[in-house]
């Protein structure tokens, strides 16, 4: 098992390296280059050459890739093209905000969806099961921002319970911060809960037709005990996989939600940078999002290996 987990980790690292290459290459295919794009068509040859040199664009691509990558690994993401500030300085506080929001949402979403999934499985075709099913259909069909606006409309505009803009400032206490991020956190929870909840329910129910479950029933145990004590331990692996997948999705869903609530996070920063075409900032944000995404996927596979004894032995 140890070998399988280590090789999965290695695969994750290789993937991450490939992702850095792809992100670097994507910003390389720009017709002309960054210098002409920033300075505009009217710039003289000399200014462009000077600026290219300043950005290090006169070097061949592999060298620039290596510089960019080693800089990134040391936490140096280059300089923003719009305000000449170090990108890292701009990204760091926003990354903390985003992680705060994402972690808070995950803390609500994961226990909630597993509990609801369990309840729906225990009361199959009951009221809770049908209710969660309908909610899941809605959550999947509605655009991300729609759910967020419905929440703002009801809880902010109509009831006035929470602020519609989730702005954070440095002087705020933890309670104030949480009060500000409740609505975006609920919106994010709604995005990811449906899938986790239905998968929990479905994997448990598909386990229920196995002979050992029948044996447990014949022993006279109740449905709740059979599900929680007998079925659940065997379906942890798929549940962990889908939870990690949805956490990865949550990290991406954060982009739209941050824009809706004008939350000072890295998603908002990236969207702004894209519309200003500030490539170093876009690269840095893209890299962070991808790194989190790849890490969560790798982690989920490793946990699934760990949780499932059959996978442990069967892994190459």
């Amino acid at each position: 098992m140890f070998k399988a987990i280590v090789s999965r980790l290695a695969l994750g690292m290789v993937t991450l390296l490939a992702v850095t290459m792809l992100i670097f290459a994507a910003t390389e295919v720009l017709p002309g280059d960054v210098a002409t794009a920033v300075l505009g068509q009217g710039a003289t040859q000399a200014t462009v050459a000077q600026y290219r040199k300043q950005l290090g664009l006169d070097q061949p691509a592999p060298i620039r890739y290596w510089r960019w990558l080693s800089g990134t690994l040391h936490g140096n993401f280059g300089t923003s093209m719009t305000n000449q500030l170090p990108v890292a300085q701009e990204v760091a506080p926003r990354l903390r905000n985003t992680l705060f929001l994402a972690a808070f949402s995950a803390l609500i979403a994961v226990p909630l969806s597993i509990a609801l999934g369990l309840l729906s499985a225990i009361h199959e075709n009951g009221l809770i099961d049908r209710g969660t099913n309908v909610l899941a259909v809605f959550a999947i069909s509605f655009p991300d921002f729609f759910i967020a606006y419905i929440l703002i409309y009801i809880f902010s505009s109509r009831l006035g319970l929470f602020p519609s803009l989730a702005t954070l400032s440095s002087g705020m206490s933890l309670a104030q911060r949480i009060h500000h991020i409740i609505l975006p956190a609920v919106a994010l929870t709604a995005l990811v809960t449906a899938h986790m909840m239905r998968t929990t329910r479905n994997t448990i129910l598909s386990e229920m037709s196995k002979p050992y479950i029948e044996t447990a029933f014949l022993k006279g145990f109740g449905r709740i005990r059979v599900i929680v004590r007998h079925a659940l331990p065997n379906v942890w692996a798929p549940i962990i996989t889908v939870v990690a997948l949805n956490l990865a999705y949550l990290v991406v869903g954060v982009v739209v939600i941050e824009v809706v609530f004008v939350y000072p996070g890295i998603g908002q920063l990236m969207v702004d940078a894209v519309s200003k075409r500030d490539l170093p900032v876009v690269q840095a944000c893209g890299l962070i999002f991808s790194a989190v995404f790849v890490s969560l996927n790798t982690l989920s596979d490793m946990l699934a290996l760990y949780a499932n004894p059959r996978l442990r032995r069967g892994a190459r």
Binding site: A26, S141, S157, V274, G286, F293
Partner: protein, 279 residues
């Protein structure tokens, strides 16, 4: 064989889904004849409440919301259709190619797709848009090519199973070329799951493009799709006005309709056909 006629009988929910899709398509096709007002003309105050003259009220600069939604249908439906078609043409041809060619081609294509899929799709799209800027062509190509990775995976796994069957082997021995095998032997059998996937991918791309427009990085003004309309009217929410809900509801209704049809189609094709010995 008489069964096959009844196979496609509509369930009520599928009929509802088809009905909504048909209405959307008709609205998109006949937009100029259906709009009560000029979608670009400012006719009243901003965010007026729905009234007889403006059934869905007015938008942020006093244009008729209903007329704008009707014209927005063309862009919203058209862009996602174009990118989904691009996605399927690319995804199916590369997926089938990977399945029928040697393991080097298969390995190279599969690893490439693995790497593409390890960057979140929205983030990837944002990077591409930051490089090329946002135009209709960039939007369709970006969404289509990113989505084709998922079609590739499905098409490849379907074709792998089919390519192992005897009739494909016979075709190979007969000396048919790769293209012929892909088109005439594999495609017909892989079609049902691919068709239902088309519906799901269409929904996904539809919401994806709407999301990009909502972020201000998709369809650019003066053109407006429904996602962009939600964005430009979002300010109304803080006044307790419902203006952005109309385009958002238009998006949600379409997604639900396509999902209803896909569920119906999947239910038909998941049924055992009777020919399988295993069942």
């Amino acid at each position: 064989m008489t069964r096959s006629k009844h196979k496609y009988r509509l369930t009520p929910s599928a009929a509802l889904g088809f009905g909504i899709i048909a209405i959307y398509l008709l609205v998109a096709l006949f937009a100029p004849w259906l709009t009560p007002h000029d979608p670009l003309a400012s006719l009243g105050g901003a965010w007026q409440a729905p009234s007889r003259a403006f059934p869905m009220g007015t938008d942020s600069v006093g244009r008729d919301m209903l007329s704008r939604i009707i014209f927005g249908a063309r862009l919203t439906l058209g862009l996602s259709l174009a990118s989904t078609v691009l996605s399927f043409v690319t995804g199916i041809s590369t997926g089938f190619l990977a399945a029928v060619s040697n393991r080097w081609v298969d390995g190279a294509l599969s690893r490439w797709v693995d790497i593409m899929l390890s960057i979140p799709q929205l983030i990837f799209a944002l990077i591409i848009i930051s490089v090329f800027g946002s135009s209709t062509a960039v939007l369709i190509t970006t969404v289509g090519l990113l989505d084709s990775t998922k079609v590739f995976r499905l098409a490849r796994s379907l074709a792998k199973d089919i390519a192992a069957m005897e009739f494909v082997e016979v075709a190979r021995l007969r000396g048919e070329g790769l293209w012929w095998i892909m088109r005439r032997e594999i495609l017909p059998i892989a079609s049902p799951p691919l068709i239902s996937e088309f519906g799901l991918r269409y929904c996904f791309n539809f919401l994806f493009i709407a999301g990009l427009s909502f972020l201000g990085l998709g369809v650019q003004p003066p053109l407006a799709d429904w996602g962009g309309m939600v964005r430009s009217n979002a300010g109304a929410i803080s006044f307790g006005l419902a203006a952005p809900f109309f385009p958002a509801l238009a998006l949600a209704l379409m997604t639900i309709a396509v999902n209803l049809v896909v569920d119906w189609f999947l239910a038909i094709h998941a049924r055992p056909s009777g020919a399988s010995a295993e069942m």
